[in-house]
Assembly symmetry: C2
Homo-oligomer: 213 residues x 2
């Protein structure tokens, strides 16, 4: 396994979405510089990223939009359907649910968890919501390996610990607290507070750059 970088994986996912949009618009072929313009990266970056999936474009027509999208899928997607658990159904949790439902055929949020009695044991955006105290059992039974943490900062670490014990291998954390996890678990931190402070900083000390990625 060639150990592909985190950044590259993220961009591949983005390229695929852009390719799918192009295809929906009737475009058949695309050059690296076109894809690059849409993704706001350099053309060389696009070609370098595409090296890892082993799909070759034509020097004259560029990349076949449909085939490239498929090839990225072969590389990125799970061979079988892969369920995701969502902990916390506050504003953020519901936003995530509505953003993500129906995006990818074999990548879906299949179980959500909350304490609020008004949400529990109902379907929200087509996803069943269970009481939090059953999270460990249900995640384990369903064999879920990926989770989203959208609970308040105070309970984030405890929720993460439960999920890890239930067999989760990777998580996105939206709570404003870094998670402590064992080395085999992958965590992506998405801290809105930090992000905002960073962006506010760069509004002043305006660094000259294209939107970095």
């Amino acid at each position: 396994m060639p150990q592909v970088s985190e950044r590259t994986i993220g961009r591949l996912s983005l390229y695929r979405r852009l390719l799918d949009e192009m295809r929906a618009g009737g475009v058949m072929y695309a050059y690296s510089h076109q894809l690059a313009a849409m993704a706001a990266v350099s053309a060389a970056q696009v070609r370098r990223d595409l090296m890892v999936i082993g799909y070759s474009g034509s020097p004259s027509r560029g990349y076949d939009v449909w085939q490239l999208s498929q090839s990225i899928g072969v590389f990125l997607d799970a061979p079988v359907k892969q369920g995701i658990a969502l902990a916390g159904l506050g504003n953020l949790g519901r936003a995530i649910l509505s953003y993500f439902t129906g995006r990818r055929p074999n990548l879906a949020i299949v179980a959500s968890f909350d304490n609020d009695a008004r949400k529990v044991n109902r379907f929200i955006h087509g996803c069943p919501c269970y009481p939090s105290d059953q999270m460990g059992r249900i995640v384990e039974e369903m064999g879920i390996q990926t989770a989203i943490i959208a609970v308040p900062a105070g309970s984030a670490q405890a929720v993460a610990d439960q999920l890890v014990r239930a067999g989760v291998k990777s998580m996105v954390n939206f709570a404003p607290t870094p998670l402590r996890v064992p080395p085999h678990v992958y965590v992506e931190e998405t801290d809105i507070t930090t992000t905002l402070e960073k962006v506010a900083y760069f509004a002043r000390s305006g660094r000259l750059m294209e939107d970095s990625k």
Copy 2:
């Protein structure tokens, strides 16, 4: 100006929050390795990051929690109050608003924009909501330089263009479309779809690593 890296800025913001938590818990001094453990980074990383703000700790007591937090503030914070605009008050917009209100004294979301007649001309989480068609004018009049985009993908680029025209210098984009902006504008892309695909990928091809940052 020493041109501090984006990553470092983000971590400084995190360190400050952790320091403030410690102080609230009555802790007076902290060593780099303690801060490192809480932030899930290495101790050397912490020391390296702190170099840029020019505050020195004591080799025996470590860092003075209160003074260090202040020093980070001097470096990170705006000298005067800095307003932020929020475009879009769907689930995500409201989540951001409730996460962020009252966090930082001179960094606050001072205006939000939506099309929904039920939200417009009211205060939501203490923040006034205006109709979208007045966004350009209001942002310009208030001198807002930082904005958050939480509108659907379809209108994200148009909203960004308007904001840039109104003088915005940096943005966080939560819409699942990369924004095209002039070189002097800083954009932080926060694409939940991409993030989820990335995390799902690493659940399978489990790479051995601490939670990278």
